[in-house]
Subunit: 457 residues, 2 copies
Amino acid sequence: MNNVIDFIQVNRDRYLDELKALLAIPSISALPEHTGDVRRCAEWCGDEMGRIGLQNVELIETPGNPVVYGDWLGAPGAPTILFYGHYDVQPVDPLNLWESPPFEATIRDGEIFARGSADDKGQVFMHLKAIEAHLKQNGRLPVNMKLILEGEEEVGSANLDDFIRANKSRLAADVVVISDSAMFARGVPSICYGLRGLVYFQVDLRGSSTDLHSGSFGGALANPAFVLAQMIAQMKDRSGRIRIPGFYDDVRELTAEERAAWASLPFNEKTYRKDFGIPKLAGETGYTTLERTWARPTLEVNGLLSGFTGEGAKTVLPAVSMAKISMRLVPDQDPNKIADLFQKYVEENAPKTVEVKVTRMHGGKPWMTSFDNPFVQAAGRAIEKGFGRAPIFTREGGSIPVVSTFQEELGLPSVLFGVGLPDENAHAPNEKLDVGNFHNGIIASAILYDEVSRLKV
Amino acid sequence: MNNVIDFIQVNRDRYLDELKALLAIPSISALPEHTGDVRRCAEWCGDEMGRIGLQNVELIETPGNPVVYGDWLGAPGAPTILFYGHYDVQPVDPLNLWESPPFEATIRDGEIFARGSADDKGQVFMHLKAIEAHLKQNGRLPVNMKLILEGEEEVGSANLDDFIRANKSRLAADVVVISDSAMFARGVPSICYGLRGLVYFQVDLRGSSTDLHSGSFGGALANPAFVLAQMIAQMKDRSGRIRIPGFYDDVRELTAEERAAWASLPFNEKTYRKDFGIPKLAGETGYTTLERTWARPTLEVNGLLSGFTGEGAKTVLPAVSMAKISMRLVPDQDPNKIADLFQKYVEENAPKTVEVKVTRMHGGKPWMTSFDNPFVQAAGRAIEKGFGRAPIFTREGGSIPVVSTFQEELGLPSVLFGVGLPDENAHAPNEKLDVGNFHNGIIASAILYDEVSRLKV
């Protein structure tokens, strides 16, 4: 392994230059005007896979954006890793809050700032460079590898499940490796063994056929912005519990062991609060902040829009109002069941003074694995060697729905091998990736393949 | 008078062409990028005043947009009318809902569609054409007239009160005439004797320094969009009563006579509901729709904005949320007192989990006159002759704050001589003015000056 690690050390600066080229492609899957950029990014990734020595590289078409596939299968008898990542990125609005342009990667204070730097291009590229180092130095990998890079992760992976189901034998492997999450804290590498699921909705209300003058009409009819506020406010009680009937029925309670382990983690609420400019933490009564974000379901308003929102004053009684509302789910909640409950709740609780339309966007199942899984333990050793510190074992509040699909369709465990940071601004302005973590992550990835090669499969 | 009315009949088509030129100027006072258009509109109005024979025409500068002044004072001993109108218009968003461009006036089905057609350019122009007809045919007006056209009515008339106070002798008159309101219904001309007042606020909440990932952070902190919904929902109870302490203290109750008179007006709730596409009327318990809009105070959400509002799904936990909230006031509520109550209520009820900022925008006092006032009665006779039908006496839910200023600063009664229609879309897409009402309004205005000239002052 030493020659591989030496290669990675020597090429450190080149990796950053190459990553900048990848980050320059605005592959925003949520915005139709970027469809061409998304494809260009897929092509870039395929070209790069070929360049580093992967084989059978192919852009596999789906009804949406293509999946980039590549493999190296020259280690018969050794385990096979299926690597999953995504090459699409989140939108960048509000653009004016970015300190440097989102698609001109800029290094400041040891961080590389760009949309996609952490989520997920930087972490995908880390593996490509680890693979390259093995192949350049040794002409081979210690394991078999299959890579799939998706272009629709940020819009709910609508075509990924079908893709996996349609390619079961092609994707056959022993373990899935995903690097699309953050470590626990700066300097505290971690392995994640649980994720929350998601259901996402848009709720539209209409109170009149057109905007009306709030003087002439105000008082005579329901204001859809006010009704929306009422409906949203009713969704949680004062203790932060979600009021949708049946919502908590399938929630797996935290074990005493988990609560004790998490209580001992180096988590400082005051620092967390200060880091993110939060006046006062708040959440479901009876749970700590880590418990609230890792193991409890939530209901969040992701967006609100109604009436006049420009500068100044417009005395309009809005015709319509809109909210984006999503719920994070925990084991063993089922997204379809929760989505049904939410839709029924909203439709039944909307007053007759408005027309209501509930649109189901995307969703994903929550996931948990056991942390004595040998692949998880191998990942722990790789992290320890790459970062010089043993990882801690955590859960994560975000969602990677594909993890459940890999379990169900391919029977594969997943290892979440993430090197982002909690303040990486993954879905916000000024997304960033720590340059040192990127570098150590390449080394840890290279070691991971070696560690996995020693496991019996 | 007959020669004046003949002139108006003959020139009917020319008036529409000229009005289209005025409506083509996008004098949107709320948007800084239209400052030049606002001034261009003032200049257009001044030029037109000179063209029709008014004297002492001047653009009088204010700290904001200029007031256009013109007069004709050649009737010593006769009463003096001070005409007030405004040449600025509302913004046009959402632009995609306009069936024809807002600044290309288009006549369809006997209506002239354009921003400002009813509010207030069309109604101002009606008087300019009535004045023109008198001066062209007789070389004189039956009364003295002073006209002031304001350019900041749609943004709260911030500089008008100071202007009036600074020009008391120049504006000395016997009565104020304002045409900036709607008649009761199509074919039912009316004189308005009461208006609601207004206070308008922007409320901004912040829950974190930047937008956060709703997965990683959801559940750990207050969501400012959710908190905003809670705060708004709490502002009214289930019966539609506003919960701000002291809000109703100075509300003058409706008299039994008013309630009886209004109950006999030709108002059909079902038609009203259908005309404006309202699923179900709703408002304060114990009052009819007319009472709710004419004589009861309201609290309305005029705009909401938070987080991601584009197409699709973005899993963001918004850093900030914003609401535009206004209250319509009735006699004898005082805007400053109500604004203080609202601000105190919001600041005291905001949870410590968010930073709250309350910005007071503009406001205006409610107003009422008696309908046996001789000027009001003269206006009634003019309407009857112009429209062929005696007017009914109504109140109106909108606000014309300057009416109170004229009363207080100049001691003048106001006559609200409006020929718009309730469905004119004054602050909404597809604003329109009925061509027949515009034409009859010119005749009625010309007769109004004659009727006023017969009054002793």
